[in-house]
Symmetry: C3
């Protein structure tokens, strides 16, 4: 974590905070070709509706890649000097890793390495989930811990971090 | 959402964050006559106790209006150039709209229009509720989505937005 | 709450936000001898693992004091002009007070007085828990209210307050 990736940004925020729309603006303003890596899986109608709404909100001009699990490999594939890549979102990826019982620490290291090496612009969106009451459910507590640790690791690596609330970005780093 | 209302402020914060006390100070410092629109309904003793405590905390010198549902109309009634109006809070209003199965999008548009046209000072308090774990309960998830969208819409409209934690206001806009 | 304690700091943050690591850095950079007051009780293996991990993260050079309840008295005992004291965390202390049915208001006053009088450096860590959906459980709602009120009272007293997210401190006061 001594070097930093010049083109990477972390955008944190709560549910419906406007974090994805802000992240999309960060991509659009680069003028580079726009790539979107969606980590969410459409398990049910509610999730399918959310994904469809996100896609509509983005509008045309984006190439979408669906990648629930092999995020590091996909970033290596997609990222190029002439591209801006939006990853939405890290917390859904963590959920998928937990459901598939992957090695979380190894996956996180792999992601950090992929971010560090990515050329072009890379914008990573994630949900801040640790500011409510401790969940009753053990898996939810583990998820919160994993997400929090990942945010710390990514925030230490990338040069720019924002916290978005009510659609307004607050610069935490950079 | 191109014009903004010069006298409107949004105050966001968590439970017991001191957001209401901060909002009251914003009203008091105007020197205008103080009006309070309470959206909460006293369903049970716990809620009654909360409402009574809020009223005591405010002290004298306020005129209180109770309005659980028709918030836009009430703002149009109460707001005047020589008055400062505190609305506490938007999230309870959203809860009431959902319980009464109102048309949320239409109600939100109505509120935005009322804020845009309100003369004098108007201070809107709301709970940030989207920074914990995704709730198990579908209605809670919908509520979170509605609240988040409303915060984004109001924050885009008004010229001043604060996030309050531990009684300390952080200016997000303005 | 008119005077303030020159050496006291409040560090707020969510679960796995990096708040403890940041608080430890505040202690270490004083160059004073390092004291750690742990309020958590190891009820089960999960809690024992968390406590052990925190202790490992801190490394050597710390003297640890376990104090689940009599926090004001313990601060008076431990704090000295040549010491830096880290209290981790206030929210676990509030949980313990509630489980033991102590007089919360009296305990809070006692703590504030101990902080006010403490010589040296004192760094207080606490969890922000009020930014999620209202909990179903009444005790959880009361806990949230107590924690929020305590944060407001401590933040009003001490000269320096930080909010930590993703390991990044945001100065709220000072």
């Amino acid at each position: 974590m001594t070097s930093t990736s010049p083109g990477a940004v972390l955008v944190l925020g709560g549910a419906r905070s406007g974090k994805s729309a802000f992240a999309e603006r960060l991509v659009v303003e680069t003028g580079l070709s726009r790539h979107y890596i969606a980590t969410g899986r459409a398990f049910d109608d509610e999730m399918r509706a959310r994904i469809a709404r996100h896609r509509e909100d983005r509008g045309d001009g984006w190439q979408t890649h669906e990648e629930p699990l092999a995020l590091a490999a996909r970033i290596r594939d997609v990222a190029r000097a002439d591209r801006a890549v939006l990853v939405d979102c890290l917390t859904l990826w963590v959920t998928n890793l937990m459901l598939e019982e992957r090695d979380i620490a190894a996956e996180f290291s792999g992601l950090l390495e992929a971010i560090r090496q990515a050329p072009g612009r890379i914008v990573l969106v994630s949900n801040e989930v640790g500011l409510g009451i401790v969940p009753d459910n053990r898996m939810a507590r583990e998820f919160r811990d994993h997400a929090g640790r990942l945010h710390q690791q990514v925030a230490a690596l990338v040069p720019e971090v924002y916290f978005v609330a009510a659609g307004l970005p607050l610069k935490m780093k950079g």
